[in-house]
């Protein structure tokens, strides 16, 4: 009897195990097999043969600085916190300190970590955009490494990550990669212009634009269908718009290149996370690279065909906001029209038009609300050295008044009929320190 139970159990369990192993094997293969986990030895060539001055430029454009520097800290010495749904991560020290930085890394180790997201410390968290850096050429990776080796070594260990289980166990990242990571080289495009190819290389590679401008899937993944499709940036409190032919229709290539490198233009100025990207990175773009990025971005096919983006997937605090007692149009006239114009048309390059602006047309209202609450100053750049600023209204107008203004602007000039409630404004209150 017992033998029969054991026999039947084995007969049932064995195929199940085999199926599980087969599925696991397939998933493992799809995230690159076992090769990513074979980290090259540290005894390789430490002396970098790359072009350090080109590496300095590439580090700017890749914006290593923004993530790997804490406010007020030494550049590239790490420690900046990143708040995720799973807890807080801290960036690492990229200076050539042998104890706490990349001091005794070989160039092979560096290339491997950049391309596969696995280092001597284990599997790296996907906050590090290795999926993008996988596209970099050997020459560019070596140039970056050569540049990082010219920095003064700084002994600095970031605070330990503060993550919930299972994210705090690096082994779990193998499972995450099996489910969500699908490395693939950039498709061959024999017909494309060198400009377009360079643009794609910068956007998808070094620039890692999709980290903010992609639509996130389950567990913070970036599925292929969300490529540059826009969404709420994790941990940042800003919405990043899609980057495609429709969203960028207002710009021609020159205007978009100007926006990228100056943070300003006739369709408005950079704010929020984009202001930071312009300030620490894109203002250093060579003119031909700015044009290349613009050329490529304008060629990305529009997402979702002709349909208007669905606002339903974005968080509104109240399912059905109560009627707002305030007249948004009147409040707009009193507080906004002197700069942005009676019809939201703006004035020159100093006061951005609201008509058609991303913050106004976006399905997610967070950018408008936060700009009205806390104002902003666009980044200072060579092309916009003395930016005009937007005053904060937090504390001067009530949440209901701000909600009325935002709803008015978005309904009239953004075709976003969904009203914003005082509760929405309250939900976006507060500047999160770092």
């Amino acid at each position: 009897m017992i033998r029969r139970i054991v026999l039947w159990s084995v007969l049932i369990a064995l195929p199940l195990l085999l199926i599980a192993a087969a599925i696991g094997g397939v998933l493992l293969l799809r995230q690159g097999g076992l090769a990513p986990y074979r980290v090259p030895s540290a005894s390789g060539d430490i002396v970098a043969a790359g072009d350090a001055s080109e590496g300095a430029y590439l580090a700017r454009i890749g914006n290593c600085l923004t993530c790997h520097t804490v406010r007020g800290g030494v550049a590239f010495a790490g420690g900046r916190p990143f708040r995720t749904d799973y807890g807080t991560l801290y960036s690492t020290n990229l200076t050539p300190d042998s104890k706490t930085g990349l001091g005794d890394w070989s160039v092979e180790e560096f290339r491997h970590a950049m391309r596969h997201g696995v280092s001597r410390h284990g599997v790296l968290y996907p906050a590090f955009p290795y999926a993008n850096f996988a596209h970099l050429t050997d020459a560019d990776l070596d140039a970056l490494f050569a540049y990082l080796r010219t920095l003064a070594p700084v002994e600095a260990t970031p605070p330990p990550n503060d993550l919930a289980w299972p994210a705090n166990w690096r082994g779990a990242l193998v499972g995450w990669r099996m489910l969500h990571y699908r490395p693939a080289p950039l498709p061959e495009r024999a017909d494309a212009s060198p400009d377009w190819l360079r643009g794609r290389y910068l956007v998808d590679g070094l620039g890692h634009c999709a980290m903010c401008h992609g639509t996130r899937g389950a567990q913070g993944s970036l599925p292929a269908e969300g490529y540059l499709a826009g969404g709420r940036i994790p941990g940042q409190g800003w919405y990043a718009p899609p980057l495609d032919a429709r969203q960028l229709a207002r710009y021609d290539v020159d205007q978009l290149a100007e926006y990228l490198s100056t943070g300003n233009g006739e369709h408005g100025a950079a704010y929020g996370s984009m202001a930071e990207v312009v300030y620490t990175s894109l203002r250093h773009l060579r003119p031909e690279d700015a044009r290349a990025m613009a050329t490529y971005l304008k060629s990305v096919p529009a997402h979702g065909g002709d349909e208007k983006p669905d606002s339903g997937r974005f968080l509104y605090a109240a399912a059905q906001p109560a009627a707002n007692p305030h007249n948004g149009g009147r409040l707009y006239q009193d507080h906004c029209a002197s700069c942005h114009g009676d019809g939201g048309e703006g004035r020159g390059r100093d006061y951005p038009p609201l008509r058609g602006a991303v913050s106004v047309t976006a399905p997610d209202p967070v950018n408008t609300v936060r700009l009205v609450l806390y104002g902003g100053v666009p980044p200072t750049t060579a092309g916009n050295p003395r930016p005009h600023s937007m005053p904060p209204f937090a504390g001067r107008l009530s949440n209901a008044e701000i909600a009325a203004i935002v709803s008015h602007i978005r309904r009239n000039w953004g075709e976003q009929d969904r009203p914003v409630s005082a509760a929405d404004v309250a939900a976006y209150y507060g500047i999160r320190g770092d």
Binding site: R71, G72, G376, V377, T380, M390
Partner: protein, 251 residues
């Protein structure tokens, strides 16, 4: 010939008048230009106006925000950089300064420093101090407490407490809550000045009760309409402070 002779002085007079007129026109033009440049920057700084007033004079009735007008430019530069670079943590200011380069910061600081130091009237919100307490506060402000190792406020901020060029701010015309909050921030490290951070040392030595009464006393003081910061070098601070030139002189 006669005509010619009389024409010469007339010509000379005309030339003189013309020269004078063009001089006046030039000066007026210069003034208009300066005015326009001023207005131009003021327009750019709408975000500052909300809390600090049109020309940095402070907002009437404000119980927290400090005035900027007439404070030494070096002090204002240092503060804007401190917000940007993580030495001060008032998040609304960090938000506005974080992507600003040194050139723009210097221009903004120079603009506010050049404004007439019309600060708001004394903080009417802070209650008056009882005479004995007021006396202690006044003594701390003007004479310090040598036994506690506390220099007088006036030793660095000027006998009129209107600051010292190029980088020591006025202490008059500030709301009480602002002063208390700054000293508290120095004590817990959320406000830091360039090393050596003399204010951090002083804040640490101040007894909490003294912080409150000194702040209350200071908030009652109003500057005169034309009170500018004391001239650079007119005081030798008793403590080494940041990179003030005076600091190098003192042991």
């Amino acid at each position: 010939m006669k005509d010619d002779a009389s024409a010469r002085p007339r010509l000379a007079t005309a030339a003189r008048v013309l020269a004078r007129l063009s001089c006046i026109a030039f000066l007026a033009f210069g003034a208009v230009q300066a005015q326009t440049a001023d207005d131009d920057l003021r327009e750019r700084l709408a975000a500052c106006t909300a809390c600090h007033g049109e020309r940095g004079e402070g907002v009437a009735g404000s119980t927290y925000y400090p005035h900027l007008a007439g404070k030494p430019a070096g002090y204002l530069v240092e503060q804007l950089q401190a917000f940007r670079d993580g030495r001060r943590h008032y998040w609304q200011m960090v938000w506005l300064t974080q992507f600003m380069d040194d050139a723009y910061i210097a221009e903004i600081a120079a603009y506010y420093a050049a404004q007439p130091p019309h600060t708001q009237a004394a903080d009417v919100g802070a209650p008056a101090l009882p005479p004995a307490v007021r006396e202690r506060a006044e003594r701390l402000v003007h004479h310090g407490d040598p036994q506690a190792g506390l220099p007088a406020c006036a030793a660095c901020h000027g006998t009129a407490l209107t600051g010292l060029e190029p980088a020591v701010p006025a202490l008059v015309g500030l709301p009480q809550d602002y002063i208390v909050s700054q000293i508290g921030s120095w004590r817990d490290g959320t406000r830091r000045s360039k090393a050596p951070d003399c204010m951090a040392k002083i804040a640490a030595r101040l007894a909490p009760a003294d912080i409150r009464i000194v702040a209350q006393y200071l908030s009652h003081q109003s500057p005169g309409a034309h009170d500018r910061p004391a001239a650079a070098g007119s005081l030798i601070p008793p403590l080494a402070c940041g990179d003030l030139p005076q600091a190098q002189v003192t042991p």
